[in-house]
């Protein structure tokens, strides 16, 4: 293993103390050394839903929560966080996106409030009464 040759002398007292020149220059992170990933869900205030905000890497749930707190509960209002393993999330494929199309399709007006013209009918009735 070789030492790290520095281009210029280190200016920085804090860095100087660690004696970089004696650090070996061949460290490599092993496969999966950063552990598995966890999906994080953030609740802004009591009464709100938990909302997915991103991931952390951690070896277990306890540490995942700790990292999640640092990462997602540090700057914005937060009362609670959930974490779950990424491998435990199941989802549809975007290739099948069209199966959701009819959720908002115009022919589904019969299950929307706007699909029922109540006032029209009332007005028609009132008009016919006046004539009579």
């Amino acid at each position: 293993m070789s030492k790290i040759p520095l281009n210029t002398p280190v200016l920085d007292p804090r860095i100087k103390r660690v004696d970089l020149e004696s650090t070996y220059g061949t460290t490599a992170i092993g496969e999966n050394e950063h552990w598995i990933s966890w999906e994080v869900f953030h609740q802004k205030k009591r009464g709100d839903q938990h909302v997915h905000v991103g991931i952390v890497h951690a070896p277990d749930a306890q540490l995942a929560l700790l990292f999640a707190k640092e990462q997602f509960g540090r700057r914005l209002a937060c009362v609670n966080l959930w974490v779950t393993k990424s491998s435990d999330i199941f989802s549809f494929s975007y290739d099948d996106e069209d199966i959701f199309d009819n959720a908002t399709a115009p022919e589904k007006q019969y299950r929307e409030a706007a699909g029922f013209k109540v006032m029209e009918k009332i007005n028609r009735y009132k008009k016919s009464k006046q004539k009579a």
């Binding site: 050394e33 552990w35 991103g54 952390v56 990424s86 999330i89 199941f90």
Partner: protein, 328 residues
Amino acid sequence: MYGGGYIQEEKQEATSQIDDAQKLAEFEARIDRGEKIEPHDWMPADYRKQLIRMIEQHAHSEVIGALPEGTWITRAPGFRRKLALIAKVQDEIGHAHLLYSAAETLGKSREQMINDLLTGKSKYSNVFNYPAKTWADVTVIGFLIDAGAIVNQVANSKGSYGPYCRALERICYEESFHLKQGHDAFITLATGTKAQHDMLQDALNRWWKPIMHFHGPPDKISEHTAKLMRWKVKMATNDDMRNQFLDMYVPKILEIGITIPDPNLKKNEATGQWEFSDPDWDEFKRVINGDGPCNAERLAVRQYVEEHGKWVRTAMMNPNQKVVIPFA
């Protein structure tokens, strides 16, 4: 259905595929409609490659960018500046986490990305290869480097890749504090004692060239911009971003009595473009390829940290866990 996330191998073959014309047309149509691309979507191999490269470099820049500032925490003048600097540096590391996560969804693991940083294979923002000699350097970084980054990040947050946009939205919110605290420190020195003013002027003089390099080489010498802009990977050209930065920040420097060390810097009111002396693109190339004042030190610090933290990470590894690509 994607059960329990998807596994790394699936991605490897995806990057070697030949882009199918029909799928490419659908992909481009989706981008033209202003819709976002999500991790599991089909995407051209080159789109995936360029995004990984860009997001990864962005993440590395956050990590390395925290070094010149981080080492000034103990020497920050006053308790309030110290608190603000701690918070800023922690934000920057948080940004790296967000960005690494976004890049991971494209199939490159965080371990691979960090290894490529350590070996010098992947790059980070060139400005961090310059030293922060005094507190005024930290002030120039906090104000003007963050300002340059914000121009870039705000543009990119309107790009086409969902996870990158989501990460950038959160990042931009935090950056507004970075910029403001930097501006505040900048004004304090500029309008303070003569010694403070001179120290700031000296720092700005040394940083002006790296600042002009920040948004990358001029459009006429940078490659494959057109396709990346059509795919909304790149949202503005280097020259446009630099021009926008100069528009916004040159007045803010000059208004408090600091000068800019380029006699040719002026705005051409007819074209709306800033004109300036050649900021030495050869030096830019030299430094980005490893020959800057701090390249070796920056990577050595990362090496040191990785080497000394390795035993903790490996002690906590659980070999029975199933590693999948995150959703982010």
